[in-house]
C-alpha cells in the first residue's frame, strides 16, 4: 500500500517536473525578457510530436517511426520547437508587443489543426502511441520505474536550471536585463534589442519543445487533447504563482499549481456525481482565470515573493530615471 503511494508520488512529481520545464522556458521569455506567449501549448506539442515521430518504431500507416534513441528525440524536439519560435518571433518581435501575443495565439490554433488533420504524420485524433519510455525495461516494477523516471526528469530540470542561472548571470543575461529595464540606453550602447529578444524567445520555445518531448516519452502516448489552450493557461498560472523572473520560483510554482490542479481534479471525480463532473471542472478553470487576474491585481510579483531578478522594473518604468534626477 505505502509502496503504491510512493510510486504514485513519484509519478505525480515527474509530471509536475515536466511542467516545470515548460515553466522555465516561459520564464526566459516572459520573466527575463517580457515577451508574452499565448501559444505555449503549440511549442510543447511540436516538441512532443517531433520526438514521437523520431523515436517510435516503424508503423505502416504513419510517416516516421525512425526508431531513434530517446535523446535524439529530445534534441530534435528542442530544435523543431526552437525553430518555430524563431519564425514567430522574427515575424512579430519588431512590431507592437501584443502582436506577438496574437501571433502565438494563432500558432496555437494552427498547430492544433495540423496535429488533428495531418493524419499520416500525427495519427490525427488518436495521436501517437508506443512512444518509447525511458527505463522501459523496468516497467514491470512500478516503483523502480517511477523512481528512475523521476530521477531522470529531475536531472533534466536541474541541468536546465543551472544552465539558465548561468545564462542569466552571463553577459548575455545582463544585456537582456539592461534592455528590459531601459531599452533606449541599451540601444545607445550598441545592443540590438530585437536580436536579443528573438534569441530569448527562441531559447524559451526550444525548452518548451523539450518539455513536450520529456512528457510524451514519460506517458508513452500523445494525442491532440493534451495540447489544448488550457495547457497554456496552466503554465502561465505556474509561473505567476512562482514569481516570474525567478527560476526556482518557476519550478516551485509548477509543482504547487500542478498539485492543486491534480488534487481538485481528484476531489471532483471522487465527490461530484458523474453527470455533473464536466460542470465542476469548468468551475475549476474559472478559478484559474480569476486567480490569474487576482494575482495581477494584488500580487503582481507572484505569490512566493520577489525573484532576485524580478520584473518589478516593468511596473514602475519611471522610478529609475527619477531616482537619478533626485540625486
Amino acid at each position: 500500500m505505502s509502496l503504491d503511494i510512493l510510486a504514485y508520488g513519484a509519478f505525480f512529481l515527474t509530471m509536475a517536473l515536466t511542467y516545470a520545464i515548460m515553466c522555465l522556458g516561459l520564464n526566459i521569455q516572459w520573466g527575463q525578457t517580457g515577451l508574452f506567449n499565448v501559444g505555449i501549448a503549440a511549442f510543447v506539442a511540436i516538441g512532443a510530436y517531433v520526438s514521437a515521430i523520431l523515436t517510435t518504431p516503424e508503423t505502416p500507416d504513419r510517416f516516421g517511426g525512425f526508431d531513434l534513441p530517446i535523446v535524439v528525440g529530445w534534441l530534435g524536439a528542442s530544435i523543431a520547437a526552437g525553430l518555430a519560435a524563431w519564425l514567430v518571433g522574427a515575424l512579430t518581435i519588431r512590431l507592437r508587443s501584443d502582436y506577438l501575443a496574437i501571433a502565438t495565439f494563432g500558432v496555437a490554433v494552427s498547430v492544433q489543426l495540423c496535429v488533428l488533420n495531418i493524419q499520416p504524420l500525427t495519427g490525427g485524433a488518436f495521436g501517437v502511441g508506443f512512444i518509447p519510455r525511458p527505463f522501459g525495461s523496468l516497467a514491470g516494477n512500478p516503483l523502480t520505474f517511477s523512481l528512475a523516471n523521476l530521477a531522470l526528469t529531475a536531472c533534466v530540470v536541474l541541468g536546465l536550471y543551472l544552465a539558465l542561472e548561468h545564462l542569466t548571470k552571463s553577459p548575455w543575461g545582463r544585456v537582456l536585463r539592461a534592455i528590459r529595464e531601459d531599452e533606449v540606453a541599451a540601444q545607445a550602447l550598441g545592443k540590438r534589442p530585437i536580436r536579443f529578444r528573438l534569441q530569448a524567445f527562441t531559447i524559451g520555445g526550444a525548452i518548451m519543445g523539450l518539455a513536450g518531448a520529456v512528457q510524451g516519452h514519460f506517458i508513452g502516448f500523445i494525442a491532440p487533447d493534451n495540447y489544448l489552450p488550457i495547457l497554456t493557461f496552466q503554465v502561465w498560472a505556474m509561473l505567476i504563482v512562482g514569481g516570474s523572473g525567478n527560476n526556482r520560483g518557476a519550478i516551485l510554482g509548477a509543482v504547487l499549481v500542478w498539485g492543486l490542479w491534480a488534487l481538485t481534479a481528484a476531489a471532483v471525480s471522487a465527490f461530484v456525481p458523474p453527470e455533473q463532473q464536466a460542470r465542476a471542472s469548468s468551475l475549476q478553470i474559472v478559478a484559474i482565470g480569476v486567480g490569474l487576474c487576482l494575482i495581477l491585481l494584488l500580487r503582481p510579483r507572484g505569490i512566493l515573493g520577489e525573484g532576485r531578478s524580478s520584473i518589478a522594473g516593468r511596473f514602475k518604468p519611471k522610478s529609475k530615471a527619477q531616482q537619478k534626477f533626485k540625486e
Binding site: 501584443d98 500558432v107 464536466a278 468551475l283 514602475k316
Partner: protein
C-alpha cells in the same frame, strides 16, 4: 467552384466584421489586444437565449415565428436586452479589472495577460451555467430561397446581412459625424491631450466598452442564430477577429468591416479548395501575410 461559397463567405464575413469593429475600437482606445472580446460574443448569444427563453415562458405568442423568419418576437426583444446586459458586463469587467490596472499605469502586456485570464474565467463560467452542449434559439427549419446566379440564402441569413449593413453604417456615422465619435478618435490618437482639450477620457472609455460589447453581442446572436450557440462560439472567432482588425488597420471601422468580409470569403474559399478542416487556419495565414507585408493594415496609421 460552387458559387454558393460567396454567400457563405459573405455571411461569415459579416459576423467577423461586426466583431472586429468592436476589437478595433477597444484596441485603438484602450491600447491593448483584448483576448476576452470573443467571450463578449458568447455571453451576448447566451444572454439573448436566456432572456428569449424567459419571454417564451411568459407568452407563447412571442415564440411564434414571424414569417418568413425562423424566430418569434421573443428573440428581437431579447436581443435588445442582451445588448444592454453585455454592455454592462463589459463595463463591470473594466471596473473590476482593466480600469484598476490602467490607473496603476500597468504595461500593455499586463493588460493583455489580464484579458487572457478574464477570457478563461468568462468562457468557463458559461460552460458551467449552460454546459458545453450546443443550443439553438429556435427549432424551426428554414428553406433557403433562390437569389439567382446559383446563390441561395435563408431569410434569417439575409436579415443578418441587412442588419450588419445598418449597424456598420450607423457606427461609421457615429465615428465621423458626432461629438462622441470625434472624442473617441481624439482619445485614440492622444489621451493626454484629449483630457487637456476638455474630453472626459473615462467617459469615452466607458462608451467604447459599451459599443464594442454591443456589437459583439449582435455578432454573437447572429452566429447563434445562423450556426449554433456554444461556450466556445466567441473563442473560436477570436483569431478571425484579430486578423480582421489588424488587416483593416487598428482603429479603422470601414477597414475592420472590409477585412472581416475578406477573412470570411477566404475561409469559405478555403473550405471549397482545401477542405473544411483547415478553415480555422485561414485567419492565421492572413495574419502572417499582413504582419509580413503591411503590419499597419489596409487603413491603419503608421506606428
Amino acid at each position: 467552384m460552387n458559387p454558393q461559397f460567396l454567400m457563405d463567405g459573405l455571411i461569415a464575413g459579416a459576423m467577423i466584421g461586426l466583431g472586429a469593429i468592436g476589437v478595433t475600437l477597444t484596441y485603438s482606445i484602450l491600447r491593448f489586444a483584448n483576448f476576452a472580446h470573443g467571450e463578449l460574443l458568447s455571453w451576448g448569444a447566451y444572454l439573448a437565449m436566456a432572456v428569449s427563453g424567459a419571454l417564451g415562458m411568459l407568452s407563447t405568442t412571442l415564440v411564434k415565428p414571424i414569417a418568413p423568419f425562423s424566430f418569434g418576437w421573443s428573440l428581437p426583444i431579447a436581443a435588445v436586452i442582451a445588448i444592454l446586459l453585455t454592455g454592462l458586463l463589459a463595463l463591470a469587467v473594466d471596473a473590476l479589472l482593466f480600469g484598476r490596472l490602467r490607473r496603476r499605469g500597468s504595461a500593455v502586456i499586463i493588460l493583455v495577460m489580464a484579458s487572457f485570464g478574464a477570457s478563461l474565467a468568462l468562457r468557463s463560467l458559461l460552460e458551467f451555467i449552460f454546459t458545453s452542449k450546443p443550443a439553438y434559439y429556435t427549432k424551426a427549419l428554414q428553406i433557403a430561397v433562390k437569389l439567382g446566379g446559383g446563390l441561395r440564402a435563408t431569410p434569417d441569413q439575409l436579415l443578418s446581412l441587412g442588419l450588419t449593413l445598418v449597424a456598420v453604417i450607423a457606427i461609421h456615422l457615429l465615428m465621423t459625424r458626432t461629438s462622441i465619435g470625434r472624442s473617441m478618435r481624439a482619445v485614440s490618437e492622444n489621451p493626454a491631450l484629449a483630457g487637456i482639450a476638455g474630453v472626459d477620457v473615462r467617459k469615452v472609455i466607458r462608451v467604447v466598452w459599451f459599443l464594442g460589447a454591443a456589437l459583439a453581442c449582435i455578432a454573437g446572436i447572429m452566429t447563434g442564430l445562423l450556426v449554433q450557440i456554444r461556450p466556445y462560439l466567441g473563442h473560436d472567432l477570436l483569431l478571425p477577429l484579430f486578423a480582421a482588425a489588424i488587416l483593416g488597420g487598428i482603429g479603422s471601422v470601414p477597414g475592420a468591416m472590409l477585412a472581416g468580409l475578406i477573412v470570411g470569403l477566404s475561409e469559405a474559399a478555403a473550405v471549397q479548395l482545401v477542405g473544411a478542416e483547415w478553415r480555422a487556419a485561414v485567419s492565421f495565414v492572413i495574419l502572417v501575410i499582413v504582419l509580413l507585408v503591411r503590419p499597419r493594415g489596409l487603413f491603419g496609421r503608421a506606428a
